[in-house]
């Protein structure tokens, strides 16, 4: 009996041992953007978007008409057919770094756009042709679908990844391919100049090649990521939220895979297609029906509005700490309502 009591006493003592407060040194992290004693200037910490390099070229090929291509493009040319209708386009886009993208992923993305099955590493390698792009070397991929074709050249140059893309009606693309390759030899790259800080005033129609829209007055424009049409940040109490716009063809991979990918980014587990369907709540926006997905996880929160428009799906995505996402949710819906797709 005495032994039992002794064991009991030791056990109680051991149970009482709790976790202790610890103090440790860690590498410096940025000071939070919202202070408890006042938010201060909400734009004080906004960053200027990186300046884009420019492209120079000699003679513009016959039949190519230089057009306005948007803020993220270094050059855009419209190619007309015999009837004078635009039948193809040449677009030149510089992106900072490679952002972990591989040729295979890009080629398969273009193949998917043309409704073609994905290529393996070996097949992509077989397709690859090396071409001269000014003083750089480019990797050319020819992707031919049913009616349309895409000829793309990926050329890394001084920390930038340049995309030269000839896309349009198959017969026009085939006819223009050799001219396109000749044009590439004649280009030169101009290093970027620092840009002025972005305007704090919102403006309609700042999306370049996208539709007109009106971002919230307190959002500041940022350099969009690869494949994004626009990006904004919003600072305030609760932290910094990011708003991005992207557009994908058709169903954009389906609702379930998209939601599960976003859940994965927030540290949440996957859901079934039926559960994903329930998570995407229908809302009415100016252009018609849309769906909104609100997610909150261990690494923050996300609110995505998906709008089907003109055979494409538009993604308006708001991310950040939960409090910042809550704060900007209404502004996001207002932003989506301001979009004029015509």
């Amino acid at each position: 009996m005495a032994g039992s009591l002794w064991v009991f006493g030791v056990a109680i003592l051991l149970t009482g041992c709790g976790e202790k407060i610890t103090v440790y040194q860690s590498p410096k992290e940025p000071v939070p953007k919202t202070a408890a004693h006042g938010a201060g200037n909400p734009h004080a910490d906004e960053q200027a978007p990186p300046a884009l390099p420019k492209l120079k070229w000699g003679r513009t090929p016959e039949g190519w008409k230089e057009t306005e291509g948007g803020t993220m493009r270094a050059a855009t040319f419209a190619l007309e057919d015999e009837t004078g209708q635009k039948a193809a386009e040449v677009a030149v886009l510089p992106f900072p770094g490679a952002a972990g993208l591989e040729d295979k992923q890009l080629v398969n993305m273009w193949r998917e756009q043309l409704g073609l099955p994905a290529f393996s590493d070996e097949e992509v390698e077989k397709q690859r042709k090396l071409v001269k792009v000014g003083d750089a070397e480019g990797r050319l991929y020819d992707v031919a679908g049913g009616e349309n074709s895409i000829v793309s050249v990926i050329a890394p140059h001084q920390g930038w990844m340049w995309f030269f893309k000839l896309a349009g009606k198959k017969e026009i693309v085939e006819r223009q391919k050799s001219i396109f390759v000749e044009f590439l030899k004649d280009v030169s790259f101009v290093a970027p100049e620092p840009l002025a800080a972005p305007s704090m005033q919102s403006s309609a129609g700042d999306s370049g090649d996208g539709p007109d829209w009106k971002p919230a007055a307190h959002w500041s424009k940022q350099a969009p990521g690869m494949m994004q049409m626009a990006k904004y940040s919003a600072t305030g109490e609760g932290g910094v939220a990011e708003i991005s716009v992207s557009r994908l063809g058709g169903m954009a991979g389906g609702l379930g895979p998209n939601i599960n990918r976003w859940r994965g980014q927030l540290g949440l587990s996957s859901v079934t297609d039926a559960e994903a369907d329930q998570l995407a709540k229908p809302i009415e926006v100016k252009s018609g029906a849309a769906r909104v997905i609100d997610l909150a996880g261990e690494s923050g929160a996300m609110s995505v509005v998906m709008v089907s428009q003109g055979g494409a799906t538009w993604f308006y995505k708001l991310t950040g700490p939960g409090a910042a996402v809550e704060r900007e949710r209404a502004a996001l819906v207002e932003f989506v309502n301001s979009v004029n797709y015509n």
């Binding site: 202070a35 408890a36 993305m109 990918r261 587990s269 409090a323």
Partner: protein
């Protein structure tokens, strides 16, 4: 007195009783995993000295349900966490400790080493190592995760379950000084003080799991904070998450105060709020409730994340990540590929490929691929392997000896 303690611990009856009780604990602990979830069941049955009545009741109810006995309102994980912990049965730690003491004391008092009994000796050593190794695993091992976007570097992993309240003093130009208060100390009414802080903290509210929103909704109450963004937040308490792949999202309202009075009331929640600032003693302290971090003297950078699928299907074929390990202390800077069954083992930690968000659709939406690693640290991982080998050798020796004697007897006959 000492003699009676000694007699108690050398009793064979004690061994038998403890083993029988262990069977009961394992049975009900397993049954409780359904209503309570793995983690609560583990903590209440195996990682505790006594099993409380609410947990045992949940396990008994589950057993009754399995034999088709109707239970009106089964006990849930939330009920167990809310109920007072009334000890009713020995838990895993107590039984393990008694068995260990029993084994060592009995061995010391009764066992005299001789070669014919060397096998038994080895077997006992192996079992002792197994028990001690398990205790060390419970105390010193940690499981955490590290999520990285391509191009991102980190020098810390985050715990799967635990959270911490941190107060970060960033006044030094070289490093931050972080005071970490474990989640277990955060209870409503608790007062926290530490030599590293020029103020005390009082926990005004603590939600183990909750949903937070920026607008007034039915069922949500306004957070009682007057600093930072807390005054605009509404909260609704939620039951604890029992699913293995889920986690609680706790929130807290704190009052910082000194002898001169209150400095204000702040609100913070995991995944919801960024760090806020408390000013005291001429310094700024960043405060946040966040997932518990484990810092390392080296950093990992995600260079590449691959999510390959079988051609023409959505079926995953391969998940792999290339990471750059940079250690300023050793000057190491190298790339390592981590994929299924091929983890990175570095400085006592093992990095397994765990989650991946890196498909083509993601790239088309302008998102950076992410890869998550499960980080396991278990200084005594070798103990069970070693223990099994020792027990195996002991049994082989002992039975081999008996077999030899048998053959000798047979030959004589």
């Amino acid at each position: 007195m000492l003699a009676s303690i000694f007699k108690f611990f050398t009793s064979l009856k004690l061994t038998v009783v403890c083993l029988c009780m262990s069977l009961v604990v394992v049975f009900f602990g397993t049954m409780a995993q359904d209503p309570l979830g793995l983690y609560i069941a583990q903590e209440r049955f195996f990682h505790s000295f006594f099993i409380d009545w609410a947990s045992l009741k949940a396990a008994i109810e589950k057993t009754l349900q399995m034999v088709d006995v109707y239970v009106a309102a089964p006990t849930t994980g939330a009920d167990v966490l809310a109920a007072p912990r009334i000890p009713v049965f020995p838990g895993g730690y107590l039984l393990g400790s008694i068995l260990l003491i029993n084994l060592i004391v009995t061995h010391y008092s009764r066992f005299k080493f001789s070669w014919p009994k060397a096998g038994i000796f080895l077997t006992h050593i192996g079992i002792v190592l197994l028990l001690v190794g398990q205790l060390f695993t419970d105390v010193f091992s940690s499981e955490s995760s590290m999520r990285l976007s391509v191009g991102e570097s980190r020098n810390y992993a985050e715990d799967f379950r635990k959270n911490e309240l941190v107060l970060i003093d960033g006044s030094s130009a070289e490093h931050d000084v972080t005071t970490s208060i474990p989640q277990s100390r955060l209870r409503k009414g608790a007062v926290i003080e530490h030599a590293s802080l020029p103020f005390k903290l009082r926990v005004l509210e603590y939600w183990g799991n909750a949903d937070f929103t920026g607008e007034s909704k039915p069922g949500y109450t306004k957070v009682d904070a007057d600093k930072g963004f807390g005054p605009k937040i509404f909260v609704k308490g939620l039951p604890p998450v029992t699913a293995m792949d889920g986690r609680d999202m706790p929130g807290i309202v704190l009052e910082a105060f000194t002898d001169s009075g209150s400095l204000g009331r702040w609100f913070s929640a995991v995944g919801f709020s960024p760090r806020q600032v408390i000013e005291a003693g001429g310094k700024e302290y960043q405060v946040a409730l966040r997932i518990k971090r484990y810092y390392t003297p080296y950093s990992l950078t995600l260079v590449e994340a691959r999510h390959d699928k079988y051609k023409g299907t959505e079926i995953p074929r391969n998940f792999s990540s290339v990471v750059r390990v940079k250690n300023s202390e050793s000057g190491e800077d190298r790339e390592v590929k981590i994929f299924m069954n091929n983890p990175l083992r570095y400085q006592g930690k093992t990095y397994y490929q765990y989650q991946m968000a890196a498909d083509e659709m993601m790239l088309r939406q302008g998102e950076r691929p992410t890869s998550t690693f499960q980080v396991v640290e278990n200084p005594s991982w070798l103990a069970p392997y070693l223990a099994c080998v020792i027990v195996g050798l002991g049994l082989l020796y002992q039975f081999g000896l008996h077999l030899k004697k048998f053959f000798v007897r047979k030959a004589k006959a």
